[in-house]
Symmetry: C2
Subunit: 409 residues, 2 copies
């Protein structure tokens, strides 16, 4: 029996007529192999950016209901064009907007969350030999307004549809060949991973490896749905992201993520009493600023230093908020440092192996890299270092944990 596969193609994969034809060829091969296919598409290339630019010419902060109505046209264009390309091949392609299918979301325009996917229409189309081609990234709210899921939301649409359809696999086609041990642009010896667990993928995603959208991985994990990340430009098996228990042999460390677009803020000498952390972070999150790493150390004389990192674009705003908080709390000086990089080693294997952290710190010490912050989770150790030392640190850790050598995965 054939499989049911949901294929999601990103913007670069449908950037022009030629790329759309290539996607149609891909689907044709899958159909010829006896499988059923449902397709989810992003907008063509930079077309969404062009629409946003147009809106911002009129108002730099456009109304979000209208913003969503505007940018949702991008995917409507790509799905219609792919359906045309499929029909040319004698395949019964049929485009659908999320609106037509009734993909329900909440009302948070421009960053809505999927609430419900009604698949009866898709199933009846599949049973009639149709290849439904569906707009990613969007939905409709209770009032019948068009919503969008935010950047990368097409991954979430793909996974949500695959889960609702109980598909055998969700294939996410991108412009990279899969998930690597580290960013190949940072370290040339980066190796393509054959498989990785949802948990590791989540840690890798949130640490800068932006191949898959975080929400999509969470969704897939929740429904135990295997995701395969592949390139739409090259042949290859890509990386299978799946439940831990299906992964037999495992290396201690699966991958290294690096990010150098954050800034570190420290508020010194705040009173070391309950509730201080919340008092510092609440105004930051109320302003819509996302905080990444948080570290607090108990100091002398009942005061503490509290440090966290934010996206470098939010530095100025976070600093202003922090100054006010410091005044209220009777805190001391505020340090801001945007000359930083965060390196994380991620791996389910490290649970069972002692000494991973010390091996990491030794490798960095040997390369004379100073560590200014450390945080750990069960399957991840992150350090903050100077930005200029990021590449050197990734290389040192990649070598130390033998990531260039393939294990019998």
């Amino acid at each position: 029996m054939g499989k049911l596969i949901v294929k999601k193609f990103g913007g670069t994969s449908v950037a022009d007529a030629e790329r759309i034809e290539a996607v149609a060829d891909n689907i044709e091969s899958e159909i010829n192999a006896g499988n059923k296919v449902t397709v989810v598409l992003s907008a063509m290339g930079d077309s969404t950016d062009d629409l946003i630019k147009l809106a911002k010419e009129i108002n730099p902060e456009p109304d979000l209901r209208e913003y969503d109505a505007l940018v949702s046209t991008g995917e409507q264009i790509s799905v219609a064009l792919l359906a045309i390309a499929l029909l040319k091949r004698g395949i019964k392609g049929k485009s659908y907007t999320a609106y037509q299918l009734g993909i329900k979301t909440n009302s948070s325009h421009s960053r809505a969350r999927i609430l419900d996917v009604e698949v009866s229409k898709i199933i009846s189309e599949l049973n009639e030999g149709v290849v439904p081609v569906i707009t990613g990234f969007q939905g409709m709210n209770e009032s019948g307004d068009i919503t969008t899921l935010g950047r990368g939301g097409s991954d979430t649409t793909g996974v949500a549809l695959a889960a609702a359809l109980d598909a055998d696999e969700c294939q996410i086609y991108t412009d990279v060949e899969g998930i690597f041990t580290t960013d190949p642009r940072v370290y040339g010896k980066a190796r393509l991973l054959k498989q990785v667990s949802f948990e590791e993928m989540l840690e890798l995603s949130s640490s800068g490896a932006k191949v898959l959208q975080l929400r999509a991985v969470e969704y897939a994990s929740k429904f135990n749905l295997p995701i395969r990340v592949l390139s739409s430009f090259n042949e290859g098996e890509g990386t299978l992201v799946q439940e831990e228990k299906n992964i037999m042999e495992r290396p201690i460390v699966s991958g290294i993520s690096s990010i150098d677009t954050e800034a570190k803020l420290t508020i010194r000498g705040v009173p070391d009493i309950p509730g201080v952390a919340a008092k510092i972070l609440s105004p930051i999150s109320d302003a819509g600023i996302e905080v990444d790493v948080i570290v607090q150390n108990i100091g002398a004389d009942n005061t503490t230093d509290f440090t966290f990192t934010v996206n470098e674009d939010d530095t100025k705003q976070a600093e202003e908020i922090l100054k006010k908080t410091s005044t209220t709390l009777g805190g001391g000086l505020i340090d801001v440092d945007d000359d930083i990089a965060k390196i994380s080693i991620v791996g389910r294997g490290m649970r069972a192996h002692a000494g991973v952290a010390s091996k990491m710190f030794q490798a960095l010490a040997k390369s004379e890299i100073n560590i200014s912050m450390i945080t750990t989770s069960e399957i991840k150790i992150s350090v903050v270092i100077k930005k200029s030392e990021m590449t050197k640190a990734v290389a040192a850790l990649h070598d130390a944990f033998d990531l260039d050598k393939e294990l019998d995965e």
Copy 2:
């Protein structure tokens, strides 16, 4: 009490951010004057052509369901952008696709006809001070597929909405100032008409004055809804197209239309028996070719010459069909002539005035213009002449009927 006005803006009126701001200004003035406004928009400038080009790169004859899904995005973009511009001005603009409102059409993709306009949503929005901004040119069929009304269909959407809302006026904004006595590019003395009847407008539309879409005029006439044709680039009252009985004084001839993109086909010596005309024209219309003028003259020896005009692009195809018909009917030679122009004088006034036709023929004779075909209707007389004499003929007739002189309309 304020009026309820439906304003429809064409593609050139929303071609870029600057033009969209101008449209928003126009609506702001109307709101400030105490009126309620519903807006219908076409797609920006040539954006629809760009989409069609993209589809044709993949398939020169794209599937029409997908074609409609594709091109309908054009209006969705313009309505969202206008809503953003209105909201910037503190006006509660809100974009709606025809799909969201449930504008029902039949299933003739790319040339669908509106069946039903549900306006309860629009009315409740208007009552809350909202300016609904609605995609023209499109709708949905019974199966929930997106349909489009064909070129110029936004006029029809505007008029249909205005009729369903029982609006006081439907204003159609274009890139011309209104309806002229003749095409100003053909004859410089052309004068803007303050008013014209539906019937005259229909005759003028179908004779080449393509300011308003024919279907929109028919629709307005059926519902006795006044249409005002205005320029979105210049101030001015434009032309009011309305019921005959509201037009007090009237000139004998209201306007002259001219068209030089048709070809004339004649089949000679066909038997003069009942049903011949149908046998000649049915295969032509079955092939989707539109026929304009039809003239048949009884000849000698129980045969007749049958002549009709088609768009010059269809000449070759019509000729092929005609050759086959001639063989079947036992007809004679086929003449094809694309070196023609059709000139029509249109006016409700000519009903009550004898001698309009002879005055027309005299004027043409005085300019030594030979007439090769004549057809008449109650309010129109058309002649077919040589293409090279079109401009001269328009000038002669414009002068003969004193169209440059304003009557106390």
